[in-house]
Amino acid sequence: MKRIERAYWAIGCWLVLALIGYGLQPLVSSSGSVDVHRQLLEQALQHSLISETEELAILDRQGLLDRFLSANFVGSLFQLVPARMSPHNDPHPRRSVARLDRGSETGLTAGMGVIGAAGVIGKIISTGPGWSLVQLADDPAFVIPFIDEDGRLAIYAGGPDRGQGHPRLRIDPVKLDKSMVVRTHGGGGTFPEGLVVGIVSEVRIPFRDTVIRPTSTLHQGQEVLILTPMTRLDTR
């Protein structure tokens, strides 16, 4: 076989391998993490740690609004903007991103918090007319303050793997146990206090190697709410 023929064969085989890779993607992408999350959630419920995350099913827009409009935080600091979130593959393989069907025309700007039925989804990172990109809670660059059950403060960061987060920094003497629910601290102005950030899945030493699992529906299309800060005029 001539060298040029071998080159054509190489390109052809490479293309076939890439196509096989695309075909196998649904099998490889972690369906196991949903089961792990569900199992952890059941454990958490058994211990009466949380009551409001009992539904893992994705709510419709009205259900989501009803759920959070009745929550305590809504009255004071944030307006809720409903939107449809769809999965989006960032060209950078390490980034974890989703796309919203609303953007700058509804006043959305970078830095606003996005929540779903089971808690924190991510933050808006860029907007345009009719679209916004959301940095999801398992993105390595996603960082928010969180509190444990006793209200002690630490910093949550996304990653290192897909569907995972970890505590990056301990500010108070936080003690994390398996199946513990960690919640937003409320500092920073992006999220109000008390939203579910995730459930502690594995406790490890050192502290920052502990695994926290955010909601299992992060990478699925779903209805979400964007937390837009109220101005002083709005609150009157």
Binding site: R3, I4, R6, A7, W9, A10, I11, C13, W14, L15, L17, A18, L19, I20, G21, Y22, Q25, V28, S29, S30, N89, D90, P91, H92, P93, R94, R95, V97, I125, S126, L133, Q135, P140, A141, A157, G159, P160, D161, R162, R168, R208
Partner: protein, 159 residues
């Protein structure tokens, strides 16, 4: 330069990165086919083609994504500098010795990428665990890329 085949190889590499994306996330992108392609060109090819590959990767990752130019460019440049530096010491044409250039360069790039993205350096165990992933992907992709050299007229690969 045969622009047509050069473009096809670039597109195919981007396609491969998308296809093996779930694996890519788990291995912290140390075995990113786009980086391996850049390293393959950087080993022995001329600067204009290396710059074109670098530019295409940067534009592709910046367009439609949330990464900043620093997050995209810094690891790529470090990989490039490491390869061009190490090739002064080791034979870049040798089918096995070139692995001693490629693996450290890709690991350095991955470490910097994690530092820029997550703000902390990966552990030593991460580096050791990543070694075999890089070796495996390079061992898979380099022979295929070597076979395609007749399609790239100006390529300087005597393999």
């Amino acid at each position: 330069m045969k622009v047509g085949w050069f473009t096809i190889i670039l597109v195919l590499t981007i396609f491969t990165t998308g296809a093996f994306r779930p694996l890519m996330v788990k291995t912290a992108a140390v075995a990113d086919p786009l980086l391996i392609l850049l390293v393959w060109f950087a080993l022995v090819d001329r600067w204009p083609r290396i710059v074109v590959v670098l530019s295409v990767i940067c534009i592709y990752r910046l367009y439609g994504g949330i990464s900043t130019p620093l997050e995209v460019l810094a690891p790529l440049l470090l990989v490039l500098i490491a390869v061009r530096g190490l090739r002064q010491l080791l034979d870049p044409y040798h089918p096995w010795k070139r692995f001693q250039i490629v693996i450290p360069a890709l690991l350095l790039g991955a470490v910097l990428q994690e530092f820029v993205l997550a703000g902390n350096l990966p552990t030593i165990s991460f580096v050791f665990q990543s070694c075999w992933v890089v070796a495996l992907f390079v061992a898979l992709l380099f022979p295929v890329l070597d076979l395609t050299t007749p399609l790239l007229r100006s390529a300087r690969f005597p393999l």
